[in-house]
Assembly symmetry: D2
Homo-oligomer: 346 residues x 4
C-alpha cells in the first residue's frame, strides 16, 4: 500500500510500504476512506517529538471500512464503517475502566502515528479494536464525522467539560485556531450567555464569529481584561479556555476569570508558565489540564446523527490520499492558505 | 388599590382593597407592571388549597417597580425595576443557605398569593426583598422576563437540572402544557440529541414542535414505549420529565427510561402513584421530585439578556390589570382558547 | 470436580460434575479457595428465579487461584490469586464503558450461578476475565476479601454512594441483615454524624450497634419517624437506605427523609410499592435503585489492604467446600443460627 | 473594654479601648469567651498586610455570648452562645447565595481583625449576624468548637473537599503545621487508604502521625516522589494538599500526583510559582486554590456534637484574655514552644 512516511526531522514522503497485518487478537485492519492532518503531525515533522522514529506512518484520525479483525474482536466486523479515534484504549487498566483512555496503562492512549503506524495510509492497523473504534451511524458521510477523531472530543472534553461551562456563563476562549473554534462549537452545547474569542489574527476572529462567538477581542488593539470585566459586572469570565499553548496566553486566562472561575488548558505547551499564586490563592480558582480521553466520542456521534452538531465547516480543503504531500503543504501554511482542517479521501 | 381577591371556593373579584405597607424591615412594596395567572391559582379557586384563606389576593409572579423598601433592605431601592419571584427566601435558614429557597424554614418559600397577599394587584408587599427580588437588566421589557417568575425556573430546575440532561441525551417530556413546553425550552440548553414530547392533545403536540421537540407522540394513537425504544437502540430514554401530575403519566415515565436513566417529576400530584420496584430495583434509576427553588433565576435572566433565551412566545393573550376577571376566564378555558400564559399589564 | 448443583425448586446436591473448560478466548478457569452463599441463592432454590435452569451450579462470590486463561486474556495468569466478582463485565458495551457493569449489554452482568455455572464448586469458568477478576493484594487471606465479591460493593454503591452520604449526615438504614450491616460499614467511610439502624429483630439491632450504628430503633416498640425527627431538628434523615425489599420498609424510607433527602433502595423487591407523590412532589427528594456495578471493587480492595476496612466479622460460620449442604442449612436458618455470612473454603 | 490593638508594624498592646456598638441593623455584639491567634495575625504584625490600619483590634476567631443584636437580626438573640466565624457573609450577593461567603461582594468575606475590629477583645461587633454566627450546640465547651472558626473549615473546604478526596485514595499533605494537621483531620472523614505527611521538621511529622497520617516523609532525608510512587504502583498520589505557601512545596505537589490527580492549594502565597505545563498539559490534573468560605461550619459543628470530630488536641497552650501578649509570644515561637494553637479564654 501507500502511506505518508516520516523519515526523520523535516523529511516525509508518500511512498510504498508493506500492508499492515493483524498482530494481536484484538487488532483490526481498517481501509482508510478519509483522514486528516493535525498540528501534532507538524510537530513530529519538525523533530519535536523524539519518541517518533524514522519510518513511522503519521496520522491519528480516520474514517474507514473494517477489512479484517483479530480473533478476539467482537464488536466490529469486516465491512463495518468506523471512526478511528486518535486514542486507543486497552479497556482493561484502571484508567480505561474510568473512561480515561488517554491515560491508558495497557498499551493504548495516543499511539497511532506516534508510537505505531498511523492513518495517513491506505490501510491502518488499530489495536484494541473493540474499545477504540466507533461505528459510524447510517447516513453520515466521512466529512461529517472525521472531526470526531480528535479535534472535537479534545476541545469538548479538555476545554468545555473540564471548564465546567454552564448555561448563562461567560466563556473566554483564548486562541481561535482549529482547537479554539472547536471549543466554541462545544461551548455552545451548554448555552453560555457569552462566548468571547481572543486572538491576534483578525481572520481567525472572523472565523470565531462564524462559529458562534458573540464577542471578539484582538489583544494587539484592545485590552482583553478590560472588555471581559465590562461584560461581567467587573468580575471576570466564568470559564477561560487556553487554546494556544504558550505561557502568555495561559497567564492571560488566569487573569480573565472571576473568583470561583475555571481555566481549562487545552493548548500543547513546550515550556513552563508562571502561576501567580500570590494573587490566585484567595480566588477559589480551578485550573485543569488534559489529553483527550475520547469518552465523549459516542455522545458527539449521536449529536452529529441527530443534526445537533455539524462539523463540516472545519474542512477548508479537500485532497485525494495520493495528494498527501500537497495537503501537508497547504495545512502547514495555514496563515496564508486559510486552512483549518484538510480532508484526504481515498 | 385594586386587586384580584379570592373569597372562598369558586369566588373571586377584582375589587378595591387597602394598599399594602411595609411590615418587616426586610420588606419592599412593588408597583406591579405585569403579572400572570398560574394553574395553581385555579386550584386555589377550586378550593383545593385549604391553606389559602378567603380575602387573599392571588398571584405569585410579577414584574414591577420598587415603590418603598424597609430599613434593612440594601440591594434594591425605590425606582428599581424588579422581577418578583414566586418563591421568597429568608436567606438565613439552612435551606436558603444551600440555595434551596423553596424549602425555606424562615418564613419564605412559596407564600405569595397563597399564605400572604400576592401579585395580581396594583401593589404587592414582598418579604425578604434582598433575597427574593431580582433586578431586571436594562433593555428587557416585562414580557421578556415575566416567565422567569415561576414557569421557567420550575421547568429548568425541577425538570431539566434534576433530570441531569446532558448533550446527546434522548429526553422524553410527558405533558406538553405550559410546564412541558418550558421543560422543552430548558432541555434545549443542554443540547440533547432528541426531545420527545408526549401528550394526548394534538394542539399541544404541535406547540411542542414549535418549542423544539423533534419527535411527538400521541399515546391515544401510538405506543410511546415502542417509539422511544426504537429511537434508542431498544434501551429507553436517558431522561423522562413528568409534566402532568397524575399517576399514569408518572408510571409511563418510569417505563420510558433506560437502565441508568432519570425520571424528574415536575407535575403537581394529588394522589399516590405505583412504583414498580419489582422491575425497577435492578435498573439503576433515579427519580426526583421538587418544588422550584429559584436558584436559577439569575442564570435565566442572563440568558434572556444575552438573547439566548426568549420566552415571549409563552404569552398568548394580553390584558390590562383591570381585565383580570376576563383574563382568568380565558386562561381557565385553555383547551378552547389555546391560552398558554396570559399577561396582565398595568 | 464436585459442585453444588441446583436440580429444580427445592432440590440441590453436592455432586460430581465435569470440570469447566475455556470456551471463549477471554475466559479463565479459577480454582476456588473460598466461596459463600447469598440470599439470592436461596431465592433460586425456592424456584423464584425461573431463568435459572436445573443443572446449574450455584454461587457468584469467590476467591481463588487462576488455573488457565484463554488466549486473549492479558491481565491475569495461571497462579494469580483473584477475587471473582458477582458481576462479569464485557468491557466493551456502553454500560461497561461507563463503569456500569451490572447493566452490561455484551453478555456480562450478573450471570455466575444464575445463567452460567457458578462458584460453589472446585473450579469455575469466569468469562471476560480481564475485566471481571481482581488481583488480591499480597498478604490478604481469603476471609479478608471474600465479602468484596458482592455484599460490600452492593451496599457501598447502591446504598452509600447512590444515597450520596456526606460528612455530618444523619443516615437511616432500614433492615439490619447482612446488606444493612454492610451499608453501615460503608456509610462510616463518609463520616455521618449519626447512623440509625431500624429492624424488627433485636439481635440484628445488636449487630448493627457492633458494626457502628449509634442509634437503633425497633419499630415494633418505637416510632421510627418520631425518633428520627427528634434527632434532626424535626426535619428527617438526610439519607435513608432500604435494605429489606418490601413495600412497607420502602415507604417508611420515604417518610423518614428530610426535604432534599435521598432514599437509596438496595432491597430486592418482588412487588410494587406505593409512592406518595401527593406528599413527596414538593419535597425535593431523590430516590435511587440499582444492581451492583462493582466499579468500587478496586477501591474496597485498597481499603482492606491499607487496614481501613475489615469485613471478617461478617463471617459467622466456616465450612469446607464438601460441607456445602450443611452450610446451606445453617445459612437458610439465619434467625436461629445467627448466621450472617458462611464461608466455604477448599 | 480591653483588647489586643495593632499599632503599626511590630507594635501591639493589650489595652483599653471603647466598647463596640451596633452600627448596622444586622450587627450583633458578642462577649468573647474564647479566642485564638492565627498565623495571619503574625503577618499583619509584621506589616505584610497594608490594608490593616494602626489601631485595629486583631483576631478573627471566637466563641462568645450574644450581648445585643441589631433590629433586623432574627436568628440569634442576647444570651445565645455562638461561634464567630472568620468569614462574614452579607447573605445577599451572588457569591453568598452560592455559599461562597469568602468571596462576598456585599461587605463581608474576611474582614474581622483585618478591615474592622476583631475578636481578641472582651467584646466584638459582628456584622451580618444572621449569616455569620453559628449557634453552639448544647453541651459543647469553648475548646471543642473554637477551631471551627477558621482552621478546620479552611483545611476541610480548601484542602479536603476541593481536593476531592474519596475512599481508598492516597493523599499527600505537604506541610504539617496546624493547617496541615487540620487537613489530616479532615481527610480522614473520607476514608483514604493512605495519608502521607511531608515536612522538614520531625516534630511536626510526629504530630502528623498522632493526627492520623500513616506515612511520614522528611524530604531533607528522603525523596518524597520516590516514596509516594512506591506506595501507588508508580502512579503518584490521588490528591496533594499544599499547606505551606511557598513555590517549592507547590511544585512538589504537582510532581507528587498521578495522572488525573488533584492539587489543592491551602497555603498563603506571597510569590508566584512555576507551573510545569510542559509536563502537566497531558496529565489531566486539577489544581485548585481558595479562601475559606465557611459553608462547612454547620457540618463540622454537627460532627463535633455527635462525637465524630474532636479538635481539642490542636490547643497546646491556654491563657486568660488579659495574657494576650504572652500568648502571642508563645505562638510566635512555635518551633521552640511546640505551640499549635493557643486558647485565650475570658
Amino acid at each position: 500500500m501507500q502511506a505518508l512516511v516520516y523519515s526523520g526531522p523535516g523529511q516525509k514522503s508518500w511512498t510504498d510500504v508493506p500492508d499492515p497485518r493483524i498482530i494481536d487478537e484484538t487488532d483490526a485492519i481498517i481501509r482508510v476512506t478519509a483522514t486528516t492532518i493535525c498540528g501534532t503531525d507538524l510537530h513530529i515533522l519538525k523533530g519535536d517529538v523524539p519518541d517518533t522514529e524514522a519510518g513511522r506512518i503519521l496520522g491519528h484520525e480516520a474514517v474507514g471500512i473494517v477489512e479484517t479483525v483479530g480473533s478476539a474482536v467482537t464488536t466490529v466486523k469486516p465491512g463495518d464503517r468506523v471512526l478511528v479515534s486518535c486514542v486507543s484504549a486497552c479497556g482493561r487498566c484502571r484508567y480505561c475502566r474510568e473512561g480515561s483512555y488517554g491515560q491508558c496503562l495497557g498499551g493504548g492512549g495516543w499511539i497511532l502515528g506516534y508510537k505505531i503506524d498511523g492513518t495517513q495510509a491506505e490501510l491502518v492497523r488499530t489495536p484494541f479494536a473493540d474499545t477504540s473504534l466507533y461505528l459510524v451511524p447510517d447516513g453520515l458521510d466521512d466529512e461529517s464525522v472525521l472531526m470526531l477523531a480528535d479535534i472535537l472530543p479534545t476541545a469538548y472534553e479538555v476545554g468545555v467539560v473540564n471548564g465546567g461551562i454552564r448555561p448563562g456563563d461567560t466563556v473566554a476562549i483564548v486562541g481561535a485556531g482549529p482547537i479554539g473554534l472547536a471549543a466554541i462549537t462545544g461551548a455552545k452545547m451548554f448555552s453560555p450567555a457569552h462566548i468571547i474569542a481572543i486572538d491576534l489574527a483578525d481572520s481567525r476572529l472572523e472565523a470565531a464569529k462564524q462559529f458562534g462567538a458573540d464577542v471578539i477581542i484582538n489583544p494587539s488593539r484592545e485590552d482583553a481584561e478590560t472588555i471581559v470585566r465590562e461584560l461581567t459586572d467587573g468580575l471576570g469570565a466564568d470559564v477561560a479556555i487556553e487554546a494556544v499553548g504558550v505561557s502568555d496566553t495561559f497567564e492571560m486566562c488566569t487573569r480573565l476569570i472571576r473568583p470561583g472561575g475555571h481555566v481549562a488548558n487545552v493548548g500543547v505547551h513546550g515550556k513552563p508558565a508562571t502561576l501567580h499564586l500570590e494573587d490566585l490563592w484567595t480566588r477559589n480558582v480551578t485550573i485543569t489540564t488534559g489529553l483527550v480521553d475520547t469518552w465523549s466520542t459516542p455522545t458527539l456521534l449521536k449529536l452529529v446523527h441527530s443534526g445537533q452538531l455539524d462539523t463540516r465547516s472545519f474542512v477548508t480543503h479537500r485532497f485525494e490520499l495520493g495528494q498527501a504531500m500537497e495537503a501537508y503543504d497547504v495545512f502547514s501554511r495555514a496563515a496564508e492558505t486559510g486552512a483549518l482542517k484538510v480532508l484526504l479521501h481515498a
